[in-house]
């Protein structure tokens, strides 16, 4: 019994340490975002000639600084997402999840981002309600947010992003499609690697940390599901998360 009590005490200490570190990350991220916000707004004012007309050379540097700043903002968001999933090593807290409702909530949260690029984001509901899944809803939310955010980020202005839910052979499939930047053939085998970013998005100078899909795949695998994708110039890019029915 002594050993069990010792284990319980050690476990409580570790849980407290993890919670304290998580708080430090959350607070740190908030402070970082405050400074990055100020920098973003000022750089944008320079870029828009609100503070006087820039020379070509000045504009080049200001635009590079803006891109770099956006990359930092994205990295902070990724840190927060990673923090939220307990570093993707903790066991999911399983419960009954209505995937249709969760998907709808996630899509609704991107209203502002779709307005910025005039993107049409559509969620296609299945003809009949799909079965629920047994999952950690906050972890699955992270997965869906990653896929929708990427679809919007890599879409052209005025593009379309479509989210579809289907039930097939005991699995619930949520697919997110866009007709924007395509993943090149040589990058397809690496797309889920930590910190990997495809050449096409680096060439387009779209900021990103390379952590989102790595985290998403880890979560889906923990839930005994799969995360797959197709990407071509003709058909666009579709990411599909497939999870077992409860």
């Amino acid at each position: 019994m002594d050993d069990i009590e010792k284990l319980k005490t050690e476990n409580k200490k570790l849980t407290d340490i993890i919670a304290a570190k998580s708080d430090v990350i959350s607070i740190g991220a908030h402070q970082l975002r405050t400074s990055l916000t100020a920098l973003k707004w000022i750089l944008k004012m320079f870029s828009d000639n609100d503070l006087g007309t820039l020379t070509d050379e000045q504009r080049t540097y200001i635009d590079q600084a803006l891109t770099s700043n956006e990359r930092m903002i994205t990295l902070v968001s990724s840190m927060l997402a990673f923090n939220h999933t307990d570093g993707v090593t903790a066991a999911p807290k399983l419960q009954d999840v209505d995937i249709e409702q969760l998907t709808s909530d996630v899509a609704g949260g991107f209203h502002g981002e779709t307005l910025k690029k005039n993107i049409t984001l559509t969620t296609t509901k299945p003809a009949f309600p799909v079965s629920h899944i047994t999952a950690d809803p906050e972890m699955i939310r992270v997965v869906l947010e990653c896929l929708v955010e990427n679809a919007i980020k890599y879409s052209e202005t005025s593009g379309k992003v479509t989210v579809t839910i289907e039930e097939k052979n005991g699995m619930i499939e949520v697919s997110v499609h866009n007709n924007g930047i395509v993943i090149g053939q040589k990058d397809k085998d690496h797309i889920f690697q930590k910190f990997f970013r495809a050449e096409t998005v680096k060439d387009a100078q779209i900021p990103g940390s390379g952590l989102g899909l790595f985290i998403a795949q880890s979560i889906v695998q923990q839930h005994k599901g799969t995360l797959s994708f197709t990407s071509s110039t003709d058909a666009g890019t579709t990411f599909c998360v497939s999870l077992p029915v409860a």
């Binding site: 975002r33 100020a38 707004w41 944008k44 004012m45 939310r141």
Partner: protein, 121 residues
């Protein structure tokens, strides 16, 4: 001219927000902390409140509660403008009656002004 109350403790950010919104044609009032915010929300003629959540004394959620609980202010649109972005914070703001929620670092000042224009036409 429509009137906006900015409740934001970071003086630099507050100045940038006020400057942009004044150029966009709004009259601006501002508060630097929760106590000041709690008083200024009661001033007449406010068309929108731009509300930060992390303030040195009260948090923005308490101010939002008061806005919705007060007869004179309960229908004023409240745009929560914060660098908190956790789902729990967004849900809490919504449940307390926020009109919308924007994460500051995700938007430029132009996008803020455009969104406010859509909220108080």
């Amino acid at each position: 001219m429509k009137k906006i109350l900015i409740i934001e403790d970071d003086i630099f950010l507050q100045g940038l927000e006020a400057g942009k919104l004044q150029k966009s044609g709004y009259t601006i009032m501002s508060a630097r902390n929760g106590a000041e915010g709690m008083q200024k929300i009661l001033e007449p003629g406010i068309d929108l409140i731009l509300l930060d959540l992390i303030l040195p004394d009260y948090d923005g959620f308490e101010i939002l509660k008061k806005i919705r609980a007060t007869e004179a202010t309960k229908n004023i649109p409240v745009l929560v403008f914060s660098n908190l972005s956790e789902e729990a914070d967004v849900k809490k703001a919504k449940s307390l009656g926020s009109t919308d929620f924007m994460v500051k670092s995700n938007f430029t000042l132009d996008e803020l002004a455009d969104h406010i224009k859509s909220l108080i036409k």
